[in-house]
């Protein structure tokens, strides 16, 4: 019925509503964080109707739940540092933010072990500059000389410097964060729907620029949500769409037509986000580093962290640009461990020569091929689609703060707490990358 949700014939219960104010495409931690913050910032009860559309309720391939769950402030860009600090602040008081009546308090299982970045001679000066930036913005990081490293971590075999986070760094359980956001957002009245976005209905308006070029700006009117295992779909009339689809953001963008113009026009720039597979191996080593082992990241790219109390560790490495694994499935390549991970790991920590691989999994990074940093903001050619994607491996740790930033962008018209204008899409149009030098 026009104006209300009521209809005399109730055909299917799990279809999304006919119209929603804001549709969030993607039900990962970013999508639910945005939905929570949108509801938190509305000034009138039921002021915005938010719908979160998630394709896979089992989250079998979602980057959120397959992540190693670390959070750090050791970045080189000040926006990333500020996002991490704000997110950690949120997580510190998470029970005040996300508590729901009659439910259990949230336990993130946060391990406060800190990140330890090892620097070789060649990159030490870059990391020192980053260290100064981090200290300036309030991150509690300390610099350890080789002698201090040997004294603090006798199991470590290194000659370089180390940068160790003393506070607010560590790792936590991504699933509990996702569930906490979801539970709270749903208790605040966010609609959610298990379906797949298959198309958009847009209106186009033309504008002429000063050079006489004709710009076609699209505005999304309806978003088609298809039900699982069925051909049934519901066109949801919406005012604003937020693309938080993670690895599938590129596909969503293609559906609207971003990237389908000629190479030299603005229309030719597609959303440069694609899935990249990363492996995580669970290993067991009874003589390995004990409770004090931080999340160690070697300059060769190999990392490891302790998991639980039984001598288990999680380890992995980022492959070279030219050797990216196949992204069609989530199968694990154990040869990669033998060739690329174990040699560096056992060189760095001699106790790991005698480890045993007990398990492994693979997950996708929503990798921004342009500069490996987030893309947050409006797309210049689509007047009502906000992007919140391309986090390239640090979406989970920034999710509370990014959700707040996107909600401010939508409801307040601009960033209020953290200024993320550096992450706008226009840097891709102007081909000016902002590179983050501390990518894992």
């Amino acid at each position: 019925m026009p104006g209300t949700d009521w209809s005399p014939v109730e055909l299917r219960r799990d279809l999304p509503p006919d119209r929603a104010d804001i549709v969030v495409v993607g039900g990962g931690v970013i999508g639910w964080s945005v939905a929570y913050w949108l509801k938190k910032k509305e000034r009138v009860r039921d002021g915005v109707r938010v719908l979160v559309v998630e394709k896979d309720p089992t989250y079998s391939e979602a980057s959120t739940v397959l992540s190693a769950g670390g959070i750090r402030q050791q970045f080189s860009l000040k926006e990333n540092i500020q996002l991490s600090l704000a997110s950690v602040d949120f997580m510190r008081n998470i029970n005040e933010h996300l508590w729901v009546l009659n439910e259990d308090p949230i336990d993130l299982q946060f391990n406060h072990s800190g990140y330890l970045f090892l620097a070789s001679e060649s990159v030490a000066h870059i990391m020192e500059e980053n260290y100064v930036t981090q200290r300036e913005h309030g991150a509690k990081v300390t610099l350890l000389s080789p002698a201090q490293l040997k004294e603090r971590f006798p199991w470590l075999n290194t000659d370089g410097f180390g940068f160790w986070g003393l506070e607010n760094e560590g790792w936590f359980d991504p699933w509990s964060l996702l569930n906490a956001f979801r539970r709270k957002a749903m208790s605040m009245g966010v609609f959610h729907c298990h379906g797949e976005v298959t198309g958009f209905t847009c209106t186009t308006s033309s504008r002429e620029t000063e050079d006489g070029d004709v710009l076609r700006i699209k505005r999304i009117k309806y978003i088609d949500v298809k039900m699982p295992d069925s051909r049934e779909y519901q066109p949801v009339e919406c005012a604003i769409v937020i693309n938080a689809a993670g690895v599938n953001s590129g596909k969503i963008a293609d559906m609207i037509g971003i990237g389908s113009g000629s190479e030299h026009s603005m229309a030719g720039f597609s959303l440069p986000v694609e899935p990249r597979k990363r492996y995580v191996y669970v290993v067991h080593c009874p003589d390995g580093p004990g409770l004090e082992s931080p999340f160690l990241i070697d300059y060769s790219g190999v990392y490891f962290r302790r998991e639980g109390l039984g001598g288990n560790y999680i380890t992995g490495n980022s492959p070279e640009e030219t050797e990216e694994p196949d992204i069609s499935d989530l199968k694990v390549d154990h040869e990669f461990f033998q060739e690329k991970v174990w040699p560096h790991l056992s060189h760095r920590v001699p106790a790991f020569e005698s480890l045993k691989v007990t398990g492994a999994w693979a997950g996708f990074y929503d990798y921004n091929t342009f500069d490996q940093n987030a893309i947050i903001g409006l797309h210049p050619r689509i007047s009502n689609m906000f992007l919140a994607t391309g986090f390239s491996g640090h979406g989970l740790q920034h999710s509370p703060a990014v959700g707040c930033a996107v909600a401010e962008l939508v409801l307040d018209g601009g960033f209020r707490t953290i200024d993320l204008s550096a992450f706008d899409f226009k840097r891709i149009l102007q081909q000016e990358p902002i590179l983050e030098r501390n990518i894992v």
Partner: protein, 244 residues
């Protein structure tokens, strides 16, 4: 009740909000006191305001409030004395409250026994006392888990650590062993080596007091005054509870 009546739910929320506001007020930053009197007096006043007690480095007596809540303001006369020992047991301190105490770099002993708001984030902030803290008592704090105990690795001068009755830690004996490895010079008290283990007696059978914890079985509740009756198809062990 609060599932059926919205009013009850509102009262519940209010009372929770008021409690959290009280904790926030108790842990406020004493910025004005610090500016006017200096960090040492501000820290001392803060400890007394919370209901704890402290001892200055150059004095041997503890300063604390009496049973009626009154304390003497003699500490105002010694603005340069730093605090050496602090006892904040059973107070409302949380990680924000530490802002007032981090200035005391000579802190040697800290006790937060039984504080309901001391959690892992509080422990993570204790690294500032890495050069001075020798005794720490975090027993009976319900919110501390292993994730916070790993943050104690920064306290290299720690010699005594008390971790008894930590409800959030599921295997206290294992955690004690790992803590002793992490801090080799520290004496860890409070978690016995056989706590949390399933006990067997000499015959290899489970000991009586662990029987109930480790086995699960169906429950049969029968009314008082009658005999429990089970259909012939039910076999195996049951826990019989007599309804009052």
């Amino acid at each position: 009740m609060n599932q059926r009546f919205y009013d009850v739910e509102v009262f519940w929320r209010w009372s929770r909000w008021l409690k959290s506001r009280r904790v926030q007020r108790k842990n406020a930053y004493f910025g004005f006191t610090q500016k006017k009197f200096g960090v040492n007096i501000a820290a001392a006043y803060y400890v007394l305001h919370l209901g704890g007690s402290f001892r200055f480095t150059d004095q041997s007596e503890w300063v604390h409030a009496n049973s009626r809540g009154k304390f003497s303001y003699n500490f105002l006369n010694t603005p340069d004395s730093t605090i050496e020992e602090v006892d904040l047991s059973r107070t409302l301190i949380n990680h924000n409250g530490l802002d007032n105490i981090v200035s005391q770099k000579t802190l040697r002993s800290l006790s937060v026994q039984g504080c309901p708001n001391v959690d892992d984030w509080f422990l993570a902030r204790l690294h500032v006392f890495g050069e001075s803290l020798q005794e720490l008592d975090v027993s009976h704090c319900p919110r501390i888990t292993v994730g916070g105990l790993v943050a104690l690795q920064h306290l290299r001068k720690l010699r005594r650590l008390d971790v008894s009755s930590l409800v959030g830690v599921s295997s206290p004996s294992l955690v004690r062993i790992l803590l002793e490895e992490m801090l080799p010079l520290c004496e860890v008290t409070g978690a016995e080596y056989d706590q949390g283990f399933v006990q067997h007696d000499s015959m290899g059978q489970l000991k009586e007091d662990t029987w109930l914890e480790t086995r699960s079985f169906p429950v049969c509740i029968y009314p008082a005054g009658s005999e429990p009756r089970l259909a012939p198809s039910h076999s195996g062990e049951f826990l019989f509870l007599q309804a009052a």
